[in-house]
């Protein structure tokens, strides 16, 4: 049986110079069209556990479906379209944050009815914004994330909120492509929020009523407030 496809003779194959030119053109077309697609970024990282004195409280951290499925789409003129999803990042982030900041914690899908916790923390993302080097005429991909931390008492009643803006940036020269740089900037913004939260929770006025309740009114048991001057 004859093979279905076969070169009849070597003379019919294109000359070597022309084939490399065609290959070069093909590469050029692929490179140009690659820049036209959507840049998809999914956050993935193992966040470090904050090295702070933990608050003596048992806290339930409620990770809502809204947070897990958060998605940010943006189209930037002359810079393409971007799609940012959080993946497992909220679980990793709040596992690490809980392990460092609270004496005992557990990630929950919703507030349970048994009242097994001193209080609850329900984080959410209110807004994400980002800028690409083309927009700012800089070398940086920048990401701003506005976290909304909702404090709930032991029965799950909301007490107060803490809006925490965070910022991260990544130099485009340090990363191979837009997706990697944007992911680095977004992870940097997440770390920024974690750092600020863990160092300033006990001095945050919006968290005071919740701290008083979760610590059984003995706010003096909380670690001393860390001032801006002390940390910078």
């Amino acid at each position: 049986m004859k093979p279905k496809y076969r070169h009849s003779s070597i003379a019919h194959s294109p000359p070597a110079g022309r084939s490399s030119l065609l290959a070069a053109l093909l590469c050029l077309v692929v490179a140009i069209t690659a820049g036209c697609g959507t840049v998809q970024v999914e956050l993935e990282s193992n966040f470090p556990v904050p090295l702070v004195e933990p608050l003596p409280a048992t806290v339930g951290i409620v990770i809502s479906e809204d947070l897990l499925s958060f998605r940010h789409d943006e189209e930037i003129a002359d810079a393409g379209s971007y799609e940012l999803t959080l993946g497992r990042a909220p679980i990793d982030l709040f596992n690490s944050l809980g392990a460092g900041v609270f004496g005992s914690y557990q990630l929950l899908e919703s507030v349970p009815e048994d009242g097994a916790f001193d209080g609850y923390l329900r984080p959410n993302i209110q807004q994400i914004q980002f800028a690409v080097p083309k927009q700012t005429r800089s070398e940086y991909y920048e990401v701003w994330i506005r976290f909304d931390f909702e404090f709930l008492d032991e029965e799950g009643t909301p007490l107060s909120n803490w809006m925490l803006p965070s910022y991260g940036k990544a130099n485009e020269g340090d990363y191979g492509n837009a997706g990697a740089a944007l992911q680095a900037a977004a992870l940097s913004a997440c770390r920024d929020a974690m750092a600020f939260f863990s160092l300033n929770l006990s001095s945050q006025p919006n968290a005071k009523p919740w701290l008083e309740q979760t610590l059984g009114g003995a706010n003096s048991a909380a670690p001393p407030a860390i001032s801006k001057e002390e940390t910078r």
Binding site: L21, D192, M194, F196, T231, R232
Partner: protein, 217 residues
């Protein structure tokens, strides 16, 4: 033999010229013993618009590690994770006089003791393209293609390393490394880049000086 000589000559010819200067200010005696470590950090404190290139920090850390068996360098990302949240852009100390208060934090102090950190080296600076001239035009046609023209550009690398001693919580000294050079790219069908390795030169100078400064022998 001739083959290697040709490669050496081509490499020398294709490298642009770089002028570099290193200056050092010593404020106190230094030294490092077995078990102690060093970390090289890029300055990225807010609200600074720029930050030191990650590649440059890795270059200095790698060169320093290779240059001396006495110096153990902790990778910057590992260090930031181990000491989180104290060395993030919004929380890191920007003056040596803030170091004693930071070292008084029990958990952080215990961690730094565990990793044997002796010196924190903050590197500030950047490599910038200061000027460029010329142009190259390329064309592709069915019969072939090629480029023609001439490009030249100047780069300036300017970095300063500030060394903090965690034993006494004070600045031990400063080292500055500056390098400048001109790169060329003539193109006659094929572009031939003759690159001045300005940043690499500044990195090598800084790490060599840093090694001598820390070991102090």
């Amino acid at each position: 033999m001739n083959h290697w000589l040709h490669i050496l000559l081509i490499t020398l010819l294709l490298g642009g010229c770089v002028n570099s200067t290193v200056q050092q200010v010593r404020e106190r005696e230094t030294g490092i013993v077995e078990g102690q470590s060093v970390v090289i950090l890029g300055v990225s404190n807010r609200p600074s618009a720029t930050e030191t290139e990650v590649g440059f920090i890795d270059c200095v850390a790698g060169d320093l590690e290779r240059s001396s068996s006495e110096i153990r360098v902790i990778p910057v990302e590992t260090f930031k994770d181990l000491t989180f949240p104290w060395f993030e852009p919004r929380t890191a100390p920007d003056k040596a006089n803030q170091l004693p208060a930071l070292l008084a934090k029990p958990r952080l102090a215990a961690q730094l003791d565990k990793i044997g950190l002796r010196y924190l080296v903050w590197v500030d600076g950047r490599t910038r393209r200061t000027s460029s001239a010329g142009s190259i035009g390329c064309s592709i046609a069915p019969g072939g293609g090629g480029c023609f023209g001439f490009l030249t550009w100047d780069e300036d690398a300017s970095y300063e390393a500030t060394i903090w001693d965690t034993e006494d919580g004070r600045t031990a000294g400063r080292i500055s490394s500056d390098a400048e050079g001109t790169s060329y790219m003539p193109a006659l069908v094929v572009p031939i880049p003759i690159i001045a390795r300005v940043q690499n030169n500044a990195c090598k100078s800084l790490s060599d000086q840093l090694q001598a400064f820390l070991v102090n022998k």
